[in-house]
């Protein structure tokens, strides 16, 4: 229970359903005052109090579990390391994979609990028993509230993890959840949503990374290799980024320029016009299949390439230990380190971490030097 409205209503619904529910708030900061303060984030003392108060209203026991060290090692450290490698990680996804449905789940099971229930906006569906043993696990599907859907950040979970997960909110819209919270007398009913990275107090990711990684000046080049600017750390950039490039001279054609590539070894950031971002093919590693066997043959599906991104029609196939995805239409802003999540309509098939892209306009694969 984060102290927000979603986990409070999820806990209340689980208790109503007859489960023996215990509220758990995760203390994730090594130094509680250092993370985001105020109503927007998580991990503050105020959030812990809000969560405790919600548990009191629901009538369930409530405990704080200290996961600060695990969170630092598995999420914060990973976040910094990935940026240092020129990738763009998603820490919420990593937190689900390593903390909520790993460290927390393991501890809960050892203590005698059966499942971890969260307020994520996603659905779990159980296929009919006629399906083969390999597809006996639950399937992960999008929330009915497409705007709040969080299946993307859960798609890294394995069938084992999903079989011990509960998402009671997947069939409701956020508005419905808020109304229900108010009807239940939960004071968090109108608490603002948290959005940005919870462990970056002021929301300034670039400043946070500079504090962690130090200054690492480098050049900004255009596609022809001409220097057009400089920066103090390539980790401050994401492929597809337009703002904050601070390029002194406008492009010859006067059109906006975007980050096309990041080479952390040389510190080089390459910029160019929007059409150079067009990606037609993606390679990804560590595929996870959620509730279905790995595809034996190329599969036509939808692929989502970042949180709250659009779903692109694509064909995906296994390529050794990795995954290849051919987009039917080019997509822009595809960054290494993000997850490529495959959907069959609204149902998640699986996911993999993007390691490289083939640009429509470029001659070579873009992957780390």
């Amino acid at each position: 229970m984060s102290g927000g409205v979603d986990s409070a209503v999820a806990a209340a619904r689980a208790a109503d359903a007859g489960h023996d529910v215990t509220g758990v708030h995760l203390a994730l900061s090594m130094n509680p005052a250092s993370y985001r303060t105020g109503a927007r984030g998580c991990c503050t003392l105020e959030d812990a109090r809000d969560a405790r108060r919600a548990a009191d209203v629901i009538g369930i026991p409530f405990y704080v579990w200290d996961m600060a060290q695990r969170f630092h090692d598995d999420v914060v450290r990973d976040f910094v390391d990935e940026y240092a490698r020129g990738n763009t990680p998603n820490p919420c996804l990593r937190c689900n994979e390593k903390i909520k449905f790993a460290a927390v789940l393991d501890r809960a099971v050892a203590l005698g609990f059966d499942a971890v229930c969260t307020g994520h906006h996603a659905r779990l569906t159980r296929p009919a028993s006629s399906a083969g043993p390999e597809s006996a696990g639950p399937r992960l599907a999008r929330s009915v509230d497409q705007a709040k859907d969080q299946s993307y950040v859960l798609a890294v979970l394995t069938s084992d993890q999903l079989s011990r997960a509960m998402f009671p909110l997947g069939g409701s819209t956020k508005d419905e959840v808020r109304h229900e919270a108010a009807a239940r007398g939960l004071a968090v009913a109108d608490k603002p949503d948290s959005n940005d990275v919870c462990f970056i107090a002021d929301g300034d990711t670039r400043k946070f990374l500079r504090g962690q990684l130090g200054a690492a000046p480098g050049q900004i080049l255009d596609e022809a290799g001409a220097a057009v600017g400089s920066h103090d750390g390539s980790y401050g950039f994401t492929i597809g980024q337009r703002r904050g490039l601070r390029i002194g001279h406008p492009a010859p054609d006067g059109r906006p320029r975007y980050v096309l590539d990041i080479e952390p070894a040389s510190g080089t950031v390459t910029v160019g016009p929007a059409e150079s971002l067009d990606v037609t093919e993606i390679e990804a590693e560590r595929p996870v299949w959620t509730g279905c066997p790995p595809p034996a043959a190329p599969v036509d599906c939808l692929v989502q390439l970042r949180a709250h991104g659009t779903a692109h029609p694509a064909t995906a196939w296994l390529d050794g230990a990795g995954l290849r995805i051919r987009l039917h239409e080019p997509a822009r802003g595809v960054a290494r380190g993000q997850a490529a999540v495959l959907y069959d309509a609204d149902t998640v098939l699986g996911s993999a971490t993007i390691t490289g892209t083939d640009r429509a306009a470029a001659s070579a694969w873009s992957s780390p030097a």
Binding site: A12, A15, D16, T22, H25, A27, P32, L45, A48, R52, D56, V57, I58, G59, I60, P61, Y63, V64, W65, D66, A68, R107, A110, L111, G112, E180, A183, R184, G185
Partner: protein, 405 residues
Amino acid sequence: MKYPGNASGRRSAAENAVYLDHAATTPMLPEALAAMTEELGQLGNPSSLHNQGRRARRVVEESREQIAEAYGARPSEVVFTSGGTEADNLAVKGLFWARHDAEPEFRRVLAASAEHHAVLDSVKWLAEHEGAEACWLPVDATGTVSPATAREFIERDPGSVALVSVMWANNEVGSVQPVAELAAVAREYEIPFHSDAVQAAGQLPVSLAGSGATALTVTGHKIGGPVGAGALLLCRGADPVPILHGGGQERDVRSGTLDAPAIRAFATAVEISRMRRDDEAKRLAALRDDLIARVLAAVPDAVLNGSLPGPDRLPGNAHFSFPGCEGDALLMLLDAKGIACSTGSACTAGVAQPSHVLLAMGTDDARARGSLRFSLGHSSTQQDVDALGAAIGEAVQRARRATGR
């Protein structure tokens, strides 16, 4: 749509039928509850001069006399406060300020490293903001300060000591301190001596005159009285600088309208606990010894922290480390079985910190985190001990699985 709340039959606090956390707070005695309930219906500010005021004043003063009698003090030596924390703050800060104002050389505050946070944090605050020098008296492996240690610390520079504060009995591990001997050492050097007697008051013969202390902290809700009423027993001639300024109701040392209903209930609880104390101490010690035997039988590698059972340990206290467990996981598992206990010191964020008391006793971090306190009181029964004995073994096994051991 109507959603069920607490009232719908979900688990409630009352279902914690086995209450082993009397050191946190203990049920109000029926007599105290009756006295308080009756008094809450009465009108009158004890400071008012009219009839209603006089009536309330009489209630307060009779209560003061009862409390003074029970704790070896004169009525004028009872300064009512809102509880133990306020009394500790008043003693530590107030006596420091008074001494330091009279003689700027007096700046050292000697306090045991295993004190309750009400003393510990007051001393730290004085050191950080008021020019005091905090001198932490080390405790031995049982959590006890020796008089020789106190003397050694004083003699490093006797002319600079503003105050000595050592608790009567430790709230976590129950170790009883040699208060009279410590007070005698301080007295040799004419240094004020304060002792937090909150945990001791219901179970041991606590006496201001008998101990030779300058000031003692006591509170109502640990002995069957209400939360919100306590006192600093303060020798005549000791004049701490006030923390709360206002009407000067209590010897000009503490201001605020006196809470006649809570004070009357506090005095009722003091009176009853004094009458029953010796028998109750024997009864609790026997129950506690059985509890220790049952826990050690179920978990042979559990370690009893604090002094051995006997005169050096509070009769109602048992405190264990369970190797390979996290205390908060054990507490949760026992709570789920309806058994209430404590990991020792609570924290506002709810994140378990290793107890400073155990660390001061030389316990390592892991063992300190794997600790639980079971504390008995006037409503404790053999059934409580039996229930814990039946549940502790499995709970420890589970908690060990959760830490991967």
